[in-house]
Point group: C2
Chain length 311, copies 2
């Protein structure tokens, strides 16, 4: 049984950290704006798998004050990754497991370069959860995570990590290749996240319209090409299967749409620019994905300009 | 000196028909909603080249009632072209010149097939004009037209047409190839019209942002490829020149953005689908242009759905 430092108490960190804590693991949270609220009223989780409250959870506002833990769970948005080394510095010593619960591509590589003494593991979360109020998490659907190790040192800890999470009601799949698992997640994330922002629409609206559906298919086909260029070839029917899977989902607003609607920065770098760059290094252009990334950057920049405009 | 039947008294038909009438040509207008207003108060043109009013202009609400004219000027939006044969039927006899003042590609071909007895001429208008109120045209900038004949019969009438327009304060350029001239116009229309709708932005805003500028460049490069596939190769620096030209323009909202903002249908078929189809026939895919067309069709369909929703 590991001990855990959870970096970022949003929907992802709050839910999974909460589950680990609820099952008896030693879990502490790093929070910023929510810290006071958590101290006053505890961390509240409304979950389709059962609501719970953690009335007295250890919460910190600075990483420097946190006791060492076996596992550091990074559940911040990747938009803040420039500051991540500074946050992790006091928490990582030789053999510390760093579990990256982020969307996109390339964050494990960056981390492994900066902290060669850490054991880096990637986690692809399939969860529908939101933090609508401080210290109050809504877990609406799904919840499973796919773990994949960055290198052989990580492979040695996967089973123990899996056990901790599964005993905390979180289903875990272990993947042999981090790259394959990350690209597999991008097959969904790249089309639906960006398009939901550009079109202001949920998954069902986009799947029901033939024109947006055509774009989503094209984006998926390009992601599959990008993955293949990096050595990760999906099965023949992967795109059709992902479309059918999304057809079967309840109408869903992807996280990037929520970020945009709430005025938060969008994860364009790790979710779009890194995959585009990795494919390009292998001579594979992703024109539709690139156009979508450009559209998103335009929208991001305009949103920033509007926010900073004098009232 | 020709006589003219103007089909469609919007910004384009109202301005050019008004100029031809003002210079003493025999000009009649086909109008629908504006007819009463024109009869009551005349046709009012506020123009950067000088305001004028035509107090007693002949206006008709049905083509069947119009006297024959040498030239039929089609200045309706291409979104209504399905009904065009029915409107032109009573106005076209052998040798009637039909001047197509529309944006897009392929309308002259359709017309020539339907009315082989007509002399078909294309007109590419470079004008900034709007109809803000019934029977009141605002001509804000530019105004020149490029004429190009659909076949040799048209070439024989170009000089006479040019004379009529130039004596009416409308600068005319004659182009040797209708296809080349239409694609040249698309080099501007395809990127700026669609993108202004998707981004809700004017030309300057899109040119000043590096991401939207990158998309516009890419769209132009594809249009140049499409044109080349159809046998119309632009000069080496055509894309750079068009970007520089737009940099030099005052901030401008393209006609498609005005159509969308005012709840009118957008000219997606002739401006996007026809060029995409023509290029595709020659084995040339236009992926960014296709994605933009799909985005526009989604927006068009949603706008229609919103308008038809019960209040």
């Amino acid at each position: 049984m590991f001990s855990y430092n959870i970096i970022g108490t949003g929907a992802v960190g709050g839910y999974y950290g909460g589950r680990l804590s609820q099952s008896g693991r030693d879990v502490r949270f790093l929070a910023r704006s929510d810290a006071d609220e958590i101290r006053k009223h505890g961390l509240i989780v409304d979950s389709v798998k059962g609501d719970f409250i953690l009335p007295e959870v250890p919460v910190f506002t600075s990483a420097a004050g946190m006791p060492a833990a076996d596992v550091v769970v990074v559940s911040t948005k990747s938009t803040g990754n420039a500051r991540l080394p500074e946050i992790l510095e006091p928490l990582v010593s030789p053999g510390t497991i760093v579990l990256m619960l982020q969307n996109g591509l390339g964050m494990e590589e960056e981390l492994a370069v900066r902290f060669p003494e850490a054991i880096v593991v990637g986690g692809m979360c399939f969860i529908c959860a939101q933090k609508r109020k401080p210290a109050r998490i809504s877990h609406l659907d799904y919840g499973e995570i796919t773990f994949a190790a960055f290198d052989p040192r990580g492979e040695a800890v996967l089973e123990a990590l899996k056990k901790d999470f599964e005993e905390s009601l979180v289903p875990i799949t272990l993947a042999a290749s981090l790259g394959a698992a990350r690209w597999r997640k991008l097959l969904w994330n790249i089309p639906y996240n960006g398009m939901s922002v550009i079109l202001g629409a949920d998954t069902k609206t986009m799947m029901d319209d033939p024109s947006s559906r055509a774009i989503i298919r094209r984006l998926m086909e390009e992601v599959a090409q990008g993955a293949a260029s990096c050595g990760f070839r999906f099965d023949e029917g992967a795109v059709d299967k992902m479309l059918a899977y999304t057809d079967g989902m309840k109408p869903y607003e992807p996280s990037m749409k929520l970020d945009f609607d709430y005025g938060r920065p969008m994860e364009i770098e790790y979710m779009y620019r890194n995959p585009i760059a990795e494919a390009k290094k292998r001579g594979c252009e992703l024109p539709a994905v690139s156009m979508l990334a450009d559209l998103l950057e335009f929208r991001q920049r305009r949103a920033n300009a509007d926010r900073n405009a004098p009232a």
